[in-house]
Amino acid sequence: MRIVDVHAHFGKWPFPIPVRNAEGLLRLMDEAEIEMCLLSSALAIVYDMREGNRALAEAIAPHPRLRGYVTLNANYLAESCEEMDRYLDGETFVGVKIHPSYQGRSAGSVENLRLMEQAAQRGRPLLIHTMGEEAVAETVEAAARFPEMKVILAHGGGVAWQAAASKAGQAPNLYVEFCASACEYWKVTEGLRLAGAEKVLFGSDMDLISPHFIRGMYDSSEMDEETRRKVYRDNAIKLFGLTGV
């Protein structure tokens, strides 16, 4: 099955991980049978939103298998809106990314709520870094304010993955993907039961984490073929309106 990976990154890490350009990412995707991945810029997340988004746009433009998230920063509302307006008018950028931890603003902060309000008006899905019970609770509450916006709880809430999956099963606009270093046994199987097959996506955190590692978790979970197809591929295509995949 050719996979659509909704959580991947482009850029450098302060860890012993070789730097990959777009071609390097494509080779890694081929190894792991990933057809398309949705990337956010590591540079944009950890340091310079504008420079990171620009570098990502330049890197993925020649490669239809690579799509982007526009990374936003709640501390820079006007600039974030400009970034969305700059990049969200085509098919290259298909969603927006918020990383509350790196911004020092929780998902439920006034700053992030204002940012989400603006993002919701642009009509693209939001991938938001979500780790822990408090983050899950705040993100779920924030998502409820903007029911028209599709929200993916990145990392499935981390240790709070059961709460995240359960909420995804209840709220029509909430989704989960489960990439994490801690691949708890039955996380995907139980997450599917709680969230439903239409609400779980495949995310790898590539190339911070190996897609083989995360596939090891998804592949060893209990899924019938129809569910596997939804999780690995169809849910993402439908959610993001992906073409050419």
Partner: protein
């Protein structure tokens, strides 16, 4: 290719609802086609190490695919050295410590003395090493000893430091279950050699699939993969020929 998992446990999960029973562990190993596993009872971690170690011995006796790992809580003072000797006398060569769960630092004389005693008994020691600074501390404390020290739970967060320490200390090894960057296994082998990596999964809490997938997807040859997947730990523990 016989696979030996160097990092598993069994027992009761108190802080979250989860099945960490012996049966759950065995099922996880079987599903992942893991032939043998080093394991220890959580009772020895959270309650009483002697009772826990007895439970470990009993379980491993009933299930020959499981290899006993002893644990001692150095906070106890009473009976710690004696427990190392008792478990060594029972044929247990692997020892695993849980400082985070028990709240003691590595630079802790009761623990240092236990390490020395385990070295004297010809044992091998598994130690958690998840934070930056920990590997260097262990290197300074034990890097000149002969006892094999296995750094467990190293991730991208502290891989650079762990590789530096394993590269310099001939008795240091790396357990792999959180080495999950795209080239992490290949990088580690290039830096310290394929004989210094030991497969671990942290089952039954963690699914074995991811850790196994990382070894299999690496660029190592079949022989080198076999070393990491089982023969290295089998050699360290003197496990029988089926793992060679």
């Amino acid at each position: 290719m016989a696979i030996v998992d160097s990092l598993t446990f069994f027992g009761v999960s108190t802080r979250k609802r989860a099945d960490w029973s012996v049966e759950a562990l065995l099922a996880a190993l079987e599903r992942a086609s893991i032939h043998r596993a080093l394991t220890c009872s959580l009772k020895g971690v959270f309650y009483d190490f002697r009772e826990g170690n007895d439970e470990t011995l009993a379980v491993c006796s009933a299930h020959p695919q499981l290899v006993p790992v002893a644990t001692v809580d150095p906070r106890r003072a009473f009976g710690c050295i004696e427990e190392v000797e008792r478990m060594a006398g029972a044929g247990c060569r692997a020892f695993r410590f849980f400082p985070r769960e028990q709240g003691w630092p590595y630079d802790f004389l009761p623990f240092v003395r236990l390490v020395e005693r385990i070295e004297g008994a010809g044992g091998i020691i598994f130690l958690p090493c998840a934070e930056n600074g920990t590997a260097t501390q262990l290197f300074r404390l034990f890097g000149t000893l002969r006892v094999p020290i296995v750094l467990c739970g190293v991730s991208y967060w502290n891989l650079s430091e762990a590789l530096a320490c394993v590269g310099e200390a001939r008795n240091f090894y790396l357990e792999t279950h959180l080495i999950n960057t795209p080239d992490g296994i290949d990088l580690a082998v290039r830096r310290v050699g394929e004989r210094r990596l030991l497969l671990g999964t942290n089952a039954p809490e963690t699914a074995p699939g991811p850790a196994l997938a990382m070894i299999r997807a690496s660029r190592l040859g079949d022989y080198e993969k076999g070393l990491v997947l089982g023969r290295n730990v089998a050699r360290l523990l003197g496990l029988d020929d089926e793992n060679r």
